[in-house]
């Protein structure tokens, strides 16, 4: 196989983002939706490191990646808290139960 490493990394990025977005379309469980967001962020992490590698600036890339990890952990925490709260109030973890706001 003669695929260069950056291309593999590119495929990982596309794959992770694609799977994440697909999950956002197809999955109804709230916690799984947070998982999908996490998967997408992992793709972005790879993108940052790949960019740093291509530009030979690993330091900036890694510092950005670190910030991204922390920031998205925070988002995941808030999201999980919301999901738990929704579960308390609706008894379900299902997006189709959340359609009172429409039209």
């Amino acid at each position: 196989m003669n695929i260069s490493i950056p291309v593999i990394a590119g495929l990982v990025i596309l794959g992770l983002l694609g799977i994440g977005l697909y999950a956002l379309l197809a999955v109804r469980n709230l916690i799984k939706i947070i998982i999908a967001l996490q998967i997408m962020v992992k793709g972005v992490l790879v993108a940052f490191i790949l960019a740093g590698r291509l530009q030979g600036d690993m330091v900036t890339a890694q510092s950005m990646a670190l910030v991204v990890i922390v920031a998205d952990t925070i988002v995941a925490v808030v999201g999980l808290a919301l999901a738990v709260q929704i579960r308390r109030h609706t008894g379900k973890l299902d997006t189709t139960a959340l359609t009172t706001l429409r039209r």
Binding site: L24, L50, A83, H89
Partner: protein, 505 residues
């Protein structure tokens, strides 16, 4: 006062004040229980914001001394308050202070009041910082701070199912957009090896596919927050379910902060392609039409106002699109003017709707939505609120002598100045949409001034002067800018200059 010191304080004060507000409010709530008298957290928040406003004045004096603005290095990153940054700071502080004042009664006795004020202050600080960022990644991080602070504010009524639902959709869509922006930043970094605006702009001279992809991702990523049309679906939910002060902030400044972030990032990529401007124009037209049509048949007041935000973003997009596509300074100036006016007008509309919602429902412990029928005859019992509300919606509809007319005019002028037939047709389309919007604004006024108050209005509670004062100030500002539009020209033209400098013009 030294402008540099002032600038540092403008950035630092709201963010560093946040924990203090929280701790003070928390301690106080522990001692007094949360449902009695006024929580001092609100006054501390107002104090901090007013102080920030004062420092913004001093920083602004320095920032307007020359066209590059005022810079300060924080470590290796620089924050620069150029015309655009100053403009955004002034807008967010003006609206933010009034909203905080308004919330004093509105949020009185709510559980978690201190968190509300702490996060509101942090959000305002984040928006100020967003306007001053000079580094793409830093810009995103400010954007993310703004988003995270607003999640809780949207889902504030956490005992209400609808509120949680709105917060959930807002969070997921926002996070998705944010992820796309991150990917865009990574691509831009991969293509140029730098993140600073000035370096990036010089490096981004050709149509590198990576940069094109980055631009597309910026439009979509920031576009989720800006509520471009197919991405707008979170907006009506979030705006209608949040506490009214937050609705005013979301609609008046948060979505516009997303727009500013988008303009900053696209401005850097200006040289790479012609399409950015066309995309802005296209989304502008789409936003106008969809926003107006969706609002036309709404029966819930706050939801109606939320949809009308879509169409107002459309006007701004058309203005900025003219600036991007045809290099029309008036497009950008008009866009920023409309941004400011929209913050005033929509802020006032949401505050007035909120005041009625508070008086008719919340003060009685209900959380029902405010529907159009509730407005019937509201002028009998709440003459001032009804007047302010009418003023706000008529200004939104673009009727003189109110502010919305003048900024729309300026945007329309830019379209005609291009001399391009398509641009002119687009302006006429926008003007017709303005007429269409009267189809839902005017009935609100008619309802407010009916002679027979509805049952709900007759049983309504009182609206305190603390709620009325911010509305009166906003109403006066709307009239003043309507008859004296050049009052703001200094600020808006500098903001446009900031944008054009970014584009390399």
């Amino acid at each position: 006062m030294n402008a540099n010191t002032a600038f540092t304080l403008v950035i630092g004060l709201p963010l560093l004040g946040t924990p203090i507000i929280y701790l003070l409010g928390r301690l106080w709530a522990r001692q007094n229980g949360s449902s009695s008298a006024a929580n001092p957290a609100r006054w501390l928040a107002v104090l901090i914001l007013v102080a920030t406003g004062v420092f913004t004045y001093f920083a602004g004096v320095g920032a307007t001394a020359d066209y590059t603005g005022i810079s300060h290095d924080f470590g290796g990153l620089t924050l620069t308050m150029d015309g655009l940054g100053l403009f955004l700071a002034v807008t967010v502080l003006a609206l933010g202070i009034l909203v905080t004042l308004f919330s004093a009664q509105y949020m009185q006795g709510e559980v978690g009041e201190e968190k509300f004020y702490a996060l509101l202050t942090a959000m305002i600080g984040a928006i100020i910082g967003l306007g001053c960022a000079t580094d793409l990644f830093n810009l995103w991080l400010w954007f993310e701070v703004m988003a995270v602070t607003s999640y809780f504010l949207v889902a504030f009524y956490r005992d209400q199912k609808a509120s949680l639902e709105a917060g959930w959709k807002y969070l997921v869509q926002s996070a998705t957009g944010s992820t796309l922006v991150m990917l865009g930043i990574a691509l831009a970094f991969a293509a140029t090896g730098s993140l600073r605006f000035d370096e990036l702009r010089l490096a981004a001279a050709s149509a590198d596919p990576l940069l094109l992809a980055a631009g597309a991702l910026f439009i979509i990523g920031f576009g989720v927050k800006t509520a471009l049309v197919p991405l707008h679906t979170w907006l009506p939910d979030a705006h209608s379910q949040a506490p009214s002060g937050i609705s005013a902030m979301l609609s008046g400044i948060v979505i516009e902060a997303g727009l500013v972030a988008m303009l900053r990032s696209l401005g850097i990529l200006y040289a790479t392609s012609q399409v950015w401007g066309y995309l802005l124009l296209g989304f502008g037209a789409l936003n106008l039409l969809v926003g107006n049509l969706m609002a036309l048949r709404q029966t819930q007041v706050k939801r109606l106002l939320a949809y009308s935000s879509l169409s107002h973003v459309g006007y701004m997009l058309i203005g900025f699109g003219m600036a991007f596509t045809f290099a029309m300074p008036n497009g950008a100036i008009g866009g920023f003017f409309h941004l400011f006016n929209h913050a005033l007008m929509k802020g006032l509309a949401f505050l007035a709707a909120g005041a009625l919602l508070y008086a008719l429902y919340i003060a009685k412990g209900h959380h029902g939505p405010l529907v159009l029928d509730d407005l019937n005859g509201a002028s009998k019992r709440y003459p001032l609120t009804a007047f302010c509300f009418s003023l706000a919606v008529l200004a939104l509809g673009g009727l003189p002598p109110l502010a919305g007319f003048m900024s729309k005019w300026q945007i329309f002028v830019s379209g005609f100045e291009t001399g391009n037939t398509v641009a002119i047709l687009l302006v006429i389309f926008a003007a017709l949409n303005s007429v269409l919007s009267l189809g839902y604004y005017a009935p609100i006024v008619n309802r407010l001034y009916r002679g027979q108050p509805s049952q709900t209005v007759q049983e309504g509670a009182k609206i305190s002067p603390w709620m009325a004062a911010p509305m009166v100030i906003l109403a006066l500002a709307i009239v003043l800018l309507g008859v004296w539009p050049s009052l703001l020209t200094n600020l808006t033209s500098r903001a446009a200059l900031g944008l054009f400098m970014l584009m390399g013009g």
